[in-house]
Amino acid sequence: MKKTQNPVFVSGLGVISCAGKNPRELLESVVNGKSGIHNGVGVVEGFGDQETPDRVLAMLFEVTRQAMGQSEMGCLTDQDGVIVASTTTRLGVWERAFLDTVGGKAGSEKFLEYFPYRKAGGLLEEFQQAIQHRGPGFLVLSACAAQLQGVAMAFDWIRSGRVNRCLVLGVETLSTLTQEGFRSLQLTTKERAKPFDRARTGINLGEGAAAILLTKDSLKNQSHSFAVVEGVGVASDAYHMTSPSPGGEGLVRAIDNVLLESGVSASEIPWVYTHGTGSRHNDLAESNAIAARFSPQTFVTSTKPIHGHTLACAGGMESVLAMLAMSESLVLPTLGLQDLDSDLPKLDYVSKLKTISVSRVLKTCLGFGGVNVAVLFRRTP
């Protein structure tokens, strides 16, 4: 039985990535198979280098401008909320100062100058001050599922009646910690990532930002809407610090929450837009979870070979692509998928662009610490 609850609409989208500086450009890159990955990483040009203090804020401002411009509903008020998601916030700004100080290349003065940037919460504060937003906000650091979890939180926040709209932002920039850390776990590859392929050798880290503006039902006539959020689910693996449980049990529970909450059955969801990092463990766990609830005819996509794994921002960036593609009757392919890994369960792993109308797409994300998130989007007319 379908639940009767006020729907939450998506009324603005924004993206910056290594493969496109706005949602339209990025969608075109995916459609044309044009990857922004070079030497195994996806770098965003035009916003300064990793150590530029305002680089992260500049990326947030740009995706905010895009999303708010599309919504045609004016600036955020104190009745609206902001959620910022990241894993590193402005780590790239202060890590060099610490490395130089520890290595004896600089005195502690430089370190002390940059050390205040370590506080993740400062990013939300500065962002809200800069856009003169006096309403409530959250800064979410729930690993690589953070921005999709932010969408889930915003969905609940609006339904609780505490805010009318919520701007959900994600941002991630490359840093020594993330690049060397993922390398130390033997998860990265210099080749282009090949999710679901037998020959996949690892993930490509990427950077970027994404924005999704969610709006309550009663405001829907004031703006174009890209999709409706129908349900959300969050659950944990409690299995391993950096690997998902092989059966994907945590993600299954997250998917079950979505189905229960939305009243939509798995057979009514034709497309799952995966986290699909291209690592051995992720692709197996995620596919197993999807196969536990969905039919073998379900379309399965990962676009990480185009824009890289943008960590906390991944769920937002890929949700933007999912909603845009759905509105244009496209099901996006996984670039480079040639020889499907036979260990994966039977699903329709999409390797070529499909022009087909789909009514719903489920976006999934997995993260270190065993966090799993699923969000169901329905196409609007």
Partner: protein, 207 residues
């Protein structure tokens, strides 16, 4: 000026400080654990003593920390700069969300896990998220944890003004509650709002 946390039902609470973590060092489960993980584990374990397995399987956990796993992050950098080695355990522990990920594994918690970081408002943000989740989902209990650690060995001699270390956890229930005035004291660490609520709850329980 007193701050109040309005209309809150606290079922149980736990607190911990650094003097307690040495006791965990002989336990193999904590061999790779950071100080944040040990402190948070102690506070949370005390809070969950009477919570059933079925509640543990569904209950949301909200982890609040301003500094996050700064000790592990700085440890990773030191090893990388001085030894030219990227240590995977320090990397995995450096993530803000790793603290709650560790707790979920050790305490068999399978529900939604959230990590928030908002400076001195970190704890209050966690309580606010719990209120939102209670109002939109049929959750009966939600666990909120606050923890921060000063990484003394990494920051000594660098001129950083130290902050306190500690952790607190409160188990909240849905429904009508009462107003709570957290224990009054000098600022300790950024996310200490949860510990102060926990201390106040435990004081009243004793009396």
């Amino acid at each position: 000026m007193k701050s109040t946390e309005k209309n809150l039902t606290i079922l149980s609470a736990g607190v911990s400080d650094l003097s307690q973590v040495d006791a965990l060092n002989l336990d193999g489960r904590f061999r790779r654990a950071s100080s944040n993980m040990k402190l948070s584990f102690l506070a949370t374990q005390a809070c969950l003593q009477d919570v059933s397995e079925s509640d543990r399987a569904k209950m949301p956990v909200i982890f609040c920390s301003s500094e996050g796993e700064l000790d592990s992050t700085l440890g990773f950098y030191r090893a990388f700069e001085l030894e030219q080695v990227a240590r995977p355990i320090l990397f995995q522990n450096s993530l803000h969300h790793s603290t709650v990920g560790f707790l979920m594994i050790q305490l068999g918690l399978l529900g939604p896990a959230f990590t928030l970081s908002q400076g001195r408002n970190s704890g209050q943000a966690g309580i606010e998220l719990a209120r939102i989740l209670f109002s939109t989902h049929p959750f009966h209990k939600i666990l909120v944890i606050g923890c921060d650690v000063f990484p003394e060995s990494a920051l000594k001699d660098l001129g950083v003004t130290p902050w306190d270390s500690g952790a607190g956890a409160v188990l909240l229930a849905n429904g009508e509650g009462r107003d709570w005035i957290p224990e009054e004291r000098a600022p300790g660490y950024d996310s200490d709002w949860i510990e102060r609520l926990a201390v106040q709850f435990l004081k009243e329980k004793v009396t």
